[in-house]
Point group: C2
Chain length 209, copies 2
């Protein structure tokens, strides 16, 4: 049974290396009704990244203009670069009844909640241990030891905000973590308050047939 | 990862014939950690029912004694018989960190919420249509037309209370409905506020190793 409703905003946060990107990719691959916004960034494209698909690559003055006109749902500086989520396509997608997933840090999560508090659902993914996290970051060959240390410092900051989230998952095992996030999405859609069509459905159920 | 916590109370309600009993049986069969309390009733045993397994069959004075001593978590009169849930085994099970499912009507749900408000989760199962419900009740060969009509009247009363529940499922298709309830159980266990061990886990995660 399909009913019109406003889409949900699923915010996923975790320290870098805790598996969030893998989880997000799996969610998007397995659920065609789910989508993710394309962020703007001032960071230069990495090998293989496509403008308009991975990010909209823009310069700092263009970024500042988006901030000044409140055209960004959330934005943040991560190390030396700026990242943000344009609000217009998000509003259009949610208005069409499609759910969206947001891969943002705790600052982004706070901004999204403040700007679009309705139908906001947040999930924090914890690593089983910081040693495990450190190992995962070191195995990413591209990152220098300095970058790894900076990411570890940011990871500690990120983890300290776990208590601002609706749900918390410990990513011991990726298949289990993906299944857990899927269950959260299913359950959130089944909350009575989300199913705005129910009052009319029950009225019809109990009315003269 | 397994952590000590207090069990959750999952209350499932629906009009008779909407599939709640089938859903409950499947949940209990598929999740050994889940249990269901054995109710007391003043109704005589039906063929095949075993005292102490299906119900504790007791007489009206014994039932009144349980009510007077507040030994019942909830109780209700359904047609000419009385039903109730002894609170002591429920407290013991939840205290041991095991979740329980309760198959009660809206009045029972209200009493359970009042008596044990913490970790209370409620799910209402709606039939796709009242015609479908009527057909299902008529197909139960044991029930007379008079019983079917009484059950239909009770079903209308039951459905009118759907808006007191946390989650609502329309049982179009039983496999989907079972999967939906399972997702709700998984998600509720992943709520940050339910995972009382998290603060200690994160402190250890971030502390000196």
């Amino acid at each position: 049974m399909s009913h019109s409703r406003r889409g949900l905003l699923f915010v996923l946060s975790s320290p870098s290396g805790a598996g969030k990107t893998t989880i997000t990719r799996r969610l998007l691959a397995d659920d065609p009704a789910l989508s993710m916004s394309v962020s703007v960034t001032t960071r230069p494209p990495r090998d293989g990244e496509v403008d308009g698909r991975d990010y909209h690559f823009i310069d700092k003055p263009a970024f500042d203009e988006l901030v000044a006109t409140r055209a960004l749902l959330e934005y943040a500086q991560v190390f030396e670069h700026w990242y943000g989520t344009p609000i217009a396509p998000v509003e259009a997608t949610l208005g069409a009844g499609r759910d969206m997933v947001f891969d943002v840090d705790w600052q982004g999560a706070q901004q999204v909640r403040r700007r679009l508090p309705d139908h906001f659902v947040s999930v924090f993914v914890l690593p089983p241990s910081m040693t495990e996290l450190h190992d995962r970051l070191r195995r990413r060959a591209k990152d220098s030891e300095k970058t790894v240390l900076a990411r570890m410092a940011k990871a500690v900051d990120e983890v300290s905000h776990y208590d601002e989230y609706d749900y918390v998952i410990v990513n011991d095992e990726i298949e289990r973590a993906v299944a857990d996030v899927k269950s959260i999405f299913v359950a959130e859609r089944l909350k009575r308050v989300r199913q705005t069509w129910l009052a009319a459905f029950v009225a019809k159920l109990l009315g003269p047939s």
